[in-house]
Amino acid sequence: MKTLYSWLKEFSPDLPAFDNLGPILSSLGFSIDSAEKIGFDADGVVVGEILKIEKHPNADKLSICEVSLGSSTKKVVCGAKNIAAGQKIPLAQVGARLPEGVLKKAKIRGIESEGMICSASELGLSGYDNSGILVLDNSLKPGTDLKEIFDKPDYVFELEITPNLAYCLSHFSLARELALYRGFKLVEPKIRSFPLKENSEMKIEIENSSDCFRYYAIIVKNIKNKKTSDWMFERLKKIGLNPKNDILIDASNYAMFELGQPTHCFDLRNLEGGKICVRRALDKEKIKTLDGEDRELSKDILVIADSKKPVAVAGVMGGYYSSVFPDTENILIESAHFNPSAVRKSSKILGLKSDSSFRFERGIDFELQDKAAFRIAQLIINQNPSAEITFVSDNRPYKPSCLNIKSESERINSILGTSFSKEEIEKAFKAVNPSYEGGDFSAPSWRSDIKTIWDLAEETARFYGYSSIKSQTNMKASAFCENPYHEALKSISLKLNSLGLFEAVNYDLVSLKEIRALLLNEKEAVELKNPLSSDFQYLRPSVLCGLLKNLRYNINRGAESVMLYENGKIFSLENENIKEKASTAVLMYGKLREEYWRFGEEFLDFYHVKGAVSYLFSDMGGFALKPCSNAPSYFKKDLCLEIWAFGKLCGYAGAVSSQVLASFDIKESEVYAFEFDTDIYAKAFAGDFYSRIKKAVPVSQYQHSTRDLCVVADKKYSWEEIKKPIENIPDLLWVKLIDVYAGKNLPPDTRSLTMRFMFSSMEKTFTDKELNAKIEEIYNKLNKMFGVSLRSS
């Protein structure tokens, strides 16, 4: 709420200076979001008249002005371009207090200046042209103190008021809060009550008591002087409203920001049929609201209607045709209490918010309606003594009552962890409700938010300050459980970081273009109903989407190596149901290693991505990389492997399709990636710690022996095929491929494979003869199955 310091001070005369107000308000849960100093705050600045202007002898851009202050004349150096003889200007005299400090006597380029001609900003005045000095009204008398011309210093601040503090959405109610909780003096607004004659020309009907709790209405007639008083006009303008200089409109706003009760004034001429009905709108019924919009209504919208048509959207905005016009002289003042959720519903459906709906939604003081109506009447009567006021109705089908809360000081202490005495707690209760006199508590009419002992605990803490809650504990020690998914994430990060990969974090929202760029079908993607923009319209179907964007971003900034990974969620639709899965993706592009003085640069390729997957999954049960029959659209068909673990297909690894790279505006073609289901990976971390630890395998105390074998094989046999029959022969610890060669000295369509075998036995050290026999056996097997031959060197 935009708040005016001086307005607040009207009700809270011993309010501290503005600079000290912030901590007091925040101790009560209000925060000042922004503040602006307005008005004139300087001493020693008077109106001067420029009599003569001469050029400064030592500076091209400076002038020397002779300025008359009426009783004396000053010689002043000035740099502004817009000065002219005969102007009235603000002159700060030597010793003047300005916002930036005290003005001292100064010699400017050798000439003594007896003051300073000021611009608006030098005087701390906002809303003026600051390109030169401030030119004042020519009718002003030289020597007049500027304090007499401009407004007094004041502050406008934006006070953040959370929904639970909505009862402070006015200057008076905020002052009341400061008085009750912090002991400042409170001056109640003087609201006249009028002896009212009944008026029978209008009848009020409330269709449903659950929509409208109270409808208070009076009629004021014969209003001739409609000009809003200057003080009211200024206040409304300062808090950011747009006063219309029509008292019938402005007084209603003024009362709302003074007291907190939204009201509405109808022009009596345009209320047809002598009745007002608070009812639900009919479907397709229409109203033109005050803002000039034609709106179609529906049966969920609460309206005020005369006998023929809706004249206002209840609590939200008045109708145009029944509103106050320049020639309006007779009005009906509505001061009602509508059901908060009814107002909220109307406001939501119409997409229309107002200061009024804001207050009704949050709940208002249910005893304020008559006062607010009188307040408006009073503001009108003040300038229209001959106006006549009559009473229409105080239709009150439902009176909210405040719950009785059992006063248990023990309970409050146990919630807060404090040790307030019963008396101390009752003192706090009295701040909430000044008429509290001990015993059970019931809230005042403006605090319908208080329903339970927890609410009273909060009030007690607000009253004594939250610092009364000490940092101390009696909590028992608590058992702590590991989370398998989190353990998986930690393990993944540790391993991928050690490979030189950096972790990325991307938005989960992507565009239709990006989904299509991945060659995926958007019909299987989850779309937002209300996206911020088309760039963020869908939930990502793959983590790679963001990494590809990161790749482009980094390449465009000169990166020669991009190695990134990300853990996150991916989304898809399966039979119209949202599927949310944990996913990890890795992207590798460019150099694995820069040139180094011992060896050249190394570029990432398919085997790096394969190696990274194998490293990551090395301890997983049933880990395997299998040729891919159904690769995701964004991989190259023949450069893609399935990742298997725990008997499940959990992801894919390979080279990113050229089409996808082109769609992401990536010119480079060698980009490798893998993505897998993190939940399957996390299975390795499920269960108790001891049960997932790999048991130590005994090693032989006899020497191990290695033997190499180099064969020439037809290229049609994959290494996987060749390895299969030999990897499980007895006493073989492992077999590794240490060289692959094709080309010169070999028949076409063949390649040589150099394998290294490691043999080990628990019983003995193998002799050369035994080892040779084993190698021969292997060779014979391979020869028989694949027709390999020995490579002659």
Binding site: E361, T452, W454, E458, F480, F502, V505, L528, N550, Y553
Partner: protein
């Protein structure tokens, strides 16, 4: 061999040893000749096995005395006979470029927070990002028409849940509270962390996707003092033992009383004049907290007259930006390697 012969052999060994010592034989050679498994003294001592117990004692002691003497001599005179050749390596050339990668600053910050809370007995739980209105709002005491819903601009999805209400992207991590409390019984001490979504325009300090941390405790006799102690312990772990916290009233529908939590600015001391981090106030707004609202407990089937608890939450980006000195939140989502590599 009789006793006499044995003693003669020992005496011969002694002479040999003295001779070797006089010739300044290397201690390695002496060790090999006398003390090793096949050395003279070892063999002689092994011969004792044929003697009677008394003789074993007597001769053994003589033999061991000598063994000790030789061992001492070797230890005293041992010198490393292998001398290093002068190296011609330029040891100032840079070392092998092992790869170096690391986690994202948001995740590093999140992990620190999680481990910090783990130490206080809080276990980690997760929840879905595509959430039901019930978990995100209703069960957290945001009734359907409550204005507090306006405090969190929500993204909705096209799909509807069992109640016919559109799914949404969770606006906070608090739905995890409901999910955990509905599936487990107190005492509970739980922390959750992850992405949340708000339909807000992106600028230096706002993002429509950001990370949140959530913690709660549900047990008997839990008070707001316990909350303060917990948060103070956590903050000291994050920002050092000199860090302090203070509470002020604040509002979140799922807690009552509610508190805003400020942390004393630990960056002030390092700058002269007005601290740019806290703008000279000395305090940083870091968390929201409070006592779990009785309506929330009721929604989870707990009796609020028996079980009490606290909850707290914070934006992780705010922590990360402070810790890493990043002033624009968007930078955290650009994944610019020039920045990531230097963190």
């Amino acid at each position: 061999m009789n006793k006499q012969e044995w003693l003669e052999k020992l005496s011969a060994l002694r002479n040999e040893f003295e001779k070797a010592a006089a010739e300044k034989k290397s201690s390695q050679d002496i060790e090999r000749d006398f003390l090793s498994k096949k050395g003279g003294l070892a063999l002689l001592l092994r011969d004792l096995s044929a003697f009677s117990i008394e003789e074993k004692k007597e001769l053994g002691s003589l033999g061991n005395d000598f063994k000790k003497k030789v061992a001492e001599y070797c230890a005293e005179n041992s010198s490393n006979p292998v001398s290093d050749k002068k190296s011609d390596l330029d040891i100032t050339l840079c070392g092998h470029p092992y790869p170096k990668g690391h986690s994202h600053p948001i995740i590093i910050t999140m992990e620190k927070i999680i481990s910090s809370m783990n130490k206080l007995g809080f276990s980690l739980e997760y929840g879905p990002l595509a959430e039901r209105d019930y978990y995100n709002f209703e069960a957290l005491n945001f009734p359907p028409d409550h204005p507090a819903r306006d405090m969190q601009d929500t993204f909705y999805l096209n799909q509807k849940d069992e109640k016919g209400i559109n799914y949404l992207l969770r606006t906070h991590t608090s739905p995890v509270q409901i999910r955990v409390m509905q599936s487990k019984k107190p005492p509970l001490r739980v922390i959750s962390a992850g992405k949340v979504f708000r339909s807000e325009a992106v600028d230096a300090s706002h993002s429509f996707v950001f990370h949140q941390l959530e913690g709660f405790c549900a047990d008997k006799n839990i008070s707001m003092s316990d909350l303060k102690w917990t948060l103070e312990s956590f903050i000291k772990d994050m920002f050092g033992s000199a860090a302090k916290i203070r509470f002020s009233p604040s509002y979140f529908p799922f807690v009552e009383p509610g508190a805003g939590v400020e942390v004393s600015c630990v960056f002030c001391s390092s700058s002269k004049g007005k601290c740019p981090v806290c703008k000279g106030t000395g305090w940083l707004e870091m968390l929201g907290a409070g006592m779990i609202h009785p309506e929330v407990f009721k929604a989870c089937g707990y009796n609020p007259d028996e079980i009490s608890g606290f909850a707290f939450g914070a934006g992780i980006e705010r922590f990360a930006m402070l810790l890493y000195g990043i002033s624009d939140m968007r930078q955290l989502y650009e994944n610019d390697l020039r920045i990531l590599k230097n963190l």
